[in-house]
């Protein structure tokens, strides 16, 4: 009998495959030096451009959601912990997914993307040690260039490496290919793509990616940026520790509490 852990892992792989393949085509239209205009061209001018953009968007969003479900199941149902190496690579893969989702959000180049990038840079600049890493994403001439490099090359490489080392394969079984494609297509048909906000349009409120909404709300409550970073990195620190402690139950409880707390803060404001 297939366990939920197995099903969510394979479904996540299926969605990742759709996300990866649908992301290969927009690269030919996207220009980091003029991100907003090239995304608008992709969406409204290039034949099927909007379709591939939406397929990439929805498969990626679903991938993250299924991955989160996979982690929650892993923690809450207390399956036997896989080898430490396998586990650590899975955490690396999860970090890569968050990075991919964030850099993808920035690449659309509209006002919300610009604001999200500025907030991320400030969060890094105002946190000891992380401030040293700012040049890894900050580029003065072409703002989205380094985000593009991370999104298109380094992070997919890290993700594929993480998946490979975690479960020993990167392609899903055939039925999960179909499920990944089907779910993405269904979302594409039923859900709207969030509207892009033109660079100089006046707007009262900008939102970042949904998974950073909790951090945004904490910032709005005047929490110190370094503390916001601690909150954001806490689950990853706990996940890294997970295979090294004997009583994993407490780490599992801490992670679930964090998830509940973060969801509540995200929905609060």
């Amino acid at each position: 009998m297939r366990t939920f852990r197995h099903i969510t892992a394979q479904l996540a792989l299926g969605l990742f495959a759709v996300s990866l393949l649908s992301g290969l085509l927009p690269v030919f239209v996207y220009h980091p030096s003029d991100p907003y205009a090239s995304v608008q061209k992709l969406t409204f001018l290039v034949p099927w451009g909007s379709f591939f953009r939406q397929l990439h968007y929805f498969s990626s969003e679903l991938f993250l959601l299924v991955l989160l479900l996979h982690i929650v199941l892993e923690i809450s149902r207390r399956y036997p912990v896989p080898s430490r190496t396998s586990w650590l690579y899975s955490v690396l893969a999860t970090l890569a997914v968050i990075g991919l989702m964030f850099t993808g959000f920035v690449l659309k180049g509209d006002q919300s993307a610009d604001a999200a990038a500025q907030v991320a840079l400030h969060l890094m600049e105002e946190t000891p040690l992380l401030d040293r890493l700012v040049p890894l994403i900050k580029e003065t001439e072409v703002f989205t260039w380094k985000f593009f490099v991370w999104h298109g090359f380094y992070l997919p490489f890290l993700l594929i490496l993480g998946i490979w080392k975690h479960i020993g394969r990167i392609t899903p079984r055939r039925v999960y290919w179909a499920m990944g494609l089907g779910l993405s297509a269904l979302s594409l048909l039923l859900l709207p793509l969030p509207a892009d906000i033109a660079p100089h349009e006046t707007i009262d409120h900008l939102k970042g990616p949904w998974f950073f909404q909790g951090a945004e709300n904490l910032l709005q409550l005047s929490l110190a940026p370094w503390l916001v970073n601690v909150v954001m990195f806490l689950p990853f620190a706990l996940l890294f520790l997970y295979p090294f402690v004997r009583r994993t139950r407490w780490i599992g409880i801490a992670l679930l509490l964090w998830l509940i707390g973060y969801t509540a803060v995200s929905l609060a404001v």
């Binding site: 610009d114 500025q118 890493l133 890894l136 003065t140 100089h200 009262d204 409120h205 709005q220 409550l221």
Partner: protein, 130 residues
Amino acid sequence: MKRRDFLSRTLAIVPWAAGAALAWPAGRFLLFGEPERNRLSIPLTQLRAGITPIPAARLFIRREGDAITVFDAHCTHMGCLLHYDTEHRVFACPCHHSRFAADGTRLRGPARRNLDTIPYRLTGTTLVIG
């Protein structure tokens, strides 16, 4: 130790040693940040009284009589781009809702500092920033 063992053990270290030797140059390479060198010249005749936004340079220029102040258009809280609300005469942050008066003074919201000002000089009838 046999010569064959010695050589194979020595060769096994080479990739690690090479990696360690390259770590410092690679780190220096990746963490190199180029300073921003934005330079902008604006004829004074283009500056109206009050606030003139310069979106391309992400600046606001305030002119009150002969007094000119150049503001960085980023919020001092988290760096989001500010809008100038002409009706209420305030700079508004669309991310976390900080507000700044037209003279750059912080009014409310999570920002803790007034707006940053940018140095400039006047060359004849031209304002040179940067």
